[in-house]
């Protein structure tokens, strides 16, 4: 059979050429970017040699790009309302869920119709997604400057305990920053990769990740390059920031301050609290002095004992979560071979002491706890982008929180329980309640509690076009699918007539595609022409992927096809190659779809073949 000969479509996708891929740790307090060079993963520094980029964004004016990092951080106290820090805490959250300090919100939030919160700044209203995108853009620029070319793909890390809304928000931020997000990777899993590959470890490890604003515990089983997450647990609103807040509240109590204090004072106080906390890892006690107003300056001393009493309840909370994670993984404390510490807050001595007690072994702190996540993400990005075709590494992650549906009486029916390995798909059947009913609403929630109101609402799915039947006759099958990023998608079909019920999704906290497009259009760096150019670019990238993958597939498995099938594939392939060069992104899209159609059967046969090959040699010995 003649093999197809088709010229290379994109210059950047030549085989054997090393593709640039980075891992990004988008942290609450600091962010990092890392890459693999000469087989070695390392974080990238800015021009001044700093690896950590403070996750702080300052907006100065409408026509000016935001300032990101250290320069912005320096203005946190002097320009608190335009200087956004810890924005990760707001991702995928509504205004009412954002933690208050005392009774005050940290920024000037706008009450909007959509549930995505917006912050009033000197550069206009900004959503947490846009603020995060500004941080990602800064890291992208750093990486492209130091690597000297455009990035092919990135892996962005998220707390393992992030729910669907928080993950979606992070992915949207990546999209807004113009990144090709290969994968959202859970932070503890990334840390395990960083440790595991170095030491080719086997066995059960626990990763305890306490960052600035989030806490995660993951129990993993490592075996021959497979990282299998057995369970995960955590709290997306618990971290070092809470230690600072506890200290700040204590200072206010000591100083006898009961009324609200200004934003500037809060920032000032939190900075003093944070410095005191850090200083107490070196010193037994620290002298403090806080000027609340002209007539009230408080001076006092905080020692380790006081600090410990303030943070012990928070540490205890993390230990209860560790215990549950072990049980979910069905392992005992003694089974854990290694405990890995990740995140800046694990520098705290009390945290190390309490964890050492609980796991009955000293935790590992070999790799810089600030960098370990970015390093692991870079290793995964390098594999995903195709630089290591023979690598056996595989990460099998789990869904952190149960997915369910609202049923009668405000109760939740769980469809996919927490700690189920992803990807996963599950179906649930529904029927109509009234004669002739043609529509119904499905409410999807995430969380462990029994009442809908105690769980997170992910979205309402309105099903239309259900064929009219008597009550209870229709069978509507709603399929939930969670992909490797932990993101949910829902489809529905009417089973008795096989009519596809159309779904209208109203995300409770996410952005619609239209909103993202509007944001792109509104952002000063993307004039209208840019959006068009970007649409074309996106379709071209997809076209190149499809063409490249198909060429490799034909070379490898062309024998699975009949001559006639090859011909029809060839026609569609030539067509796509032609329109790819043009500037009509819709036409490119249609041609991709046509080529996909022509290769559906081929793809299925190849999948079957690889499944068969995976277990080849296991045929005989199983039936002993």
């Amino acid at each position: 059979m003649a093999l197809l000969q088709i010229s290379e479509p994109g210059q950047s996708t030549k085989p054997h050429e090393r593709r640039l891929a980075v891992g990004i740790d988008l942290g609450t307090t600091n962010s990092l970017v890392a890459t693999v060079r000469s087989g070695q993963a390392d974080t990238l520094a800015d021009e001044q040699g700093n690896h950590l980029l403070p996750s702080v964004v300052r907006y100065t004016d409408v026509d000016v790009s935001p300032i990101v990092g250290q320069d912005a951080k320096q203005h946190a106290a002097s320009d608190p309302l335009n200087t956004i820090s810890s924005v990760k805490r707001f991702m995928g959250r509504a205004v009412k869920e954002i933690k208050h300090f005392g009774s005050q919100l940290p920024y000037d939030f706008v009450d909007t119709e959509t549930k995505v919160p917006r912050i009033k700044t000197a550069a206009g209203e900004k959503s947490p997604i846009e603020v995060s995108a500004a941080i990602l853009t800064a890291l992208k620029q750093r990486a492209e400057q130091s690597l000297g070319d455009e990035l092919t793909g990135v892996v962005i890390t998220v707390p393992a305990y992030f729910d669907d809304a928080q993950r979606q928000a992070t992915k949207d931020a990546g999209k807004l920053a113009g990144l090709n997000v290969l994968r959202l990777l859970n932070e503890p899993t990334a840390a395990a990769v960083a440790y595991g590959l170095d030491k080719s470890a086997e066995g059960i490890i626990a990763v305890y990740d306490l960052g600035g604003g989030t806490f995660d515990i993951s129990i993993l089983r490592l075996n021959k390059g497979v990282f299998e997450v057995m369970s995960t647990g955590g709290d997306t609103a618990l971290g070092g920031d809470d230690f600072d807040q506890a200290i700040a509240q204590w200072i206010m109590q000591q100083a006898g301050i009961t009324e609200n204090i200004s934003q500037n004072k809060i920032r000032h106080l939190l900075k003093i609290a944070c410095d005191a906390k850090e200083s107490l890892t070196e010193n037994e006690s620290v002298d403090l002095s806080v000027e609340f107003n002209d007539s009230n300056t408080w001076s006092g001393t905080i020692n380790r004992e006081i600090l410990n009493s303030l943070i012990d309840p928070l540490i205890q909370k993390t230990i209860v979560t560790c215990r549950r994670a072990l049980r979910d993984a069905q392992v005992n404390v003694e089974d854990v071979q290694t405990v890995v510490m990740v995140g800046g807050s694990t520098r705290n001595l009390r945290v190390r002491e309490k964890l050492g007690e609980f796991f009955a072994q000293p935790p590992m702190v070999d790799i810089d706890p600030d960098k370990v996540v970015a390093i692991g993400a870079a290793l995964q990005a390098d594999v995903l982008v195709g630089n290591k075709p023979d690598d056996e590494m595989l990460l099998l992650d789990v869904i952190p929180l149960s997915l369910g549906l609202e049923t009668m009486g405000n109760l939740v029916e769980k469809i996919i329980p927490r700690n189920t390995t992803i990807p996963v798909s599950r179906a649930q059947d529904f029927t109509t309640f009234k004669d002739g009913q043609t529509a119904m609403t499905v409410h999807v929630v995430q969380g462990e509690r029994e009442l809908v109101s105690d769980c997170r609402s992910l979205g309402q799915f309105a099903l239309h076009d259900i064929p009219a039947m008597v009550a209870g006759a229709a069978r509507i099958r709603v399929m939930f699918q969670v992909d490797a990023d932990g993101l949910l998608s829902v489809t529905a079909t009417e089973e008795t007539t096989h009519a596809e019920a159309s779904i209208q999704i109203k995300p409770s906290y996410g952005l619609t595609d239209t909103e993202i497009e509007t944001m792109l259009r509104d952002s000063i760096t993307h004039a209208k022409g840019d959006v068009e150019a970007r649409n074309i670019r996106e379709q071209q990238v997809e076209a190149d992927r499809v063409i490249d993958a198909l060429q490799i597939a034909l070379q490898k498995d062309g024998d699975l096809l009949e001559e006639q099938e090859v011909n029809s594939i060839e026609v569609a392939l030539l067509e796509l190659n032609k329109v790819r060069e043009g500037d009509d992104h819709r036409l490119i899209k249609t041609s991709i779809e046509k080529l996909n159609e022509a290769t559906t059967e081929f793809a299925a046969r190849r999948m079957n073949k690889s499944i068969k090959q995976a277990l080849a040699g296991h045929q005989v010995d199983e039936f002993e």
């Binding site: 309840p313 995903l384 982008v385 595989l394 798909s425 699918q481 997809e542 793809a603 999948m607 039936f623």
Partner: protein, 179 residues
């Protein structure tokens, strides 16, 4: 149907249909299969191929989840053998078992008021786990001897205990939240 979706879960892993399966082989085969189909292996492929990989990986995960859990495996084997489970409308009628369930439930409810609720809860959960494990031994014998209807009754009873364990976990979460 394409790929692994037309095969039963045992066939997917190339294992004989037997309650006493070799869990080590199951796990090894699971890892080999995921290495072949996981969507991360298709990170550079087109959307359609990635979606196909997600479906295949999800199906293999589902099969693994069912086979590695003794209770789910038993229920699945009974379904393969033609036993009909109509969960919503059927439930066990055994008065002795139901009485015991009520007592266990009362013990769970009483834990909130105790001095050290966490360790009491752990003890209670261990008790339930032990009961479960004894019942699963019996269940495996019933499946071996093809006494499917008795096995079905036992599966239903075990589902009660599973639910009770879930309630214990929820209680623990409540207690932790109150810290």
């Amino acid at each position: 149907m394409s790929g692994s979706q037309s095969q039963n879960y045992f066939e997917i892993f190339r294992l004989p249909i037997d309650f006493h399966l070799n869990t080590q082989k199951l796990t090894e085969h699971y890892r080999e299969l995921q290495k072949a189909v996981h969507p991360d292996r298709f990170a550079n492929a087109g959307d359609r191929d990635r979606r196909l990989a997600v479906q295949q990986a999800a199906n293999i995960n589902e099969a693994f989840e069912v086979l590695k859990s003794p209770l789910k495996r038993a229920r699945y084997m009974l379904i393969l053998a033609g036993v009909d489970f109509n969960d919503e409308h059927e439930t066990t009628q055994d008065p002795e078992f139901l009485m015991e369930q009520m007592e266990l439930r009362e013990s769970v409810a009483a834990i909130r008021g105790l001095d050290d609720p966490f360790s009491e809860l752990v003890k209670l959960m261990q008790t339930i786990e032990q009961k479960k494990s004894t019942m699963i031994d019996t269940l495996s014998q019933l499946i071996d001897t093809k006494e499917y209807l008795d096995a079905k009754v036992l599966v239903q009873k075990l589902q009660f205990l599973e639910k009770l364990l879930l309630e214990c976990e929820n209680l623990e979460q409540d207690l932790a939240d109150a810290l």
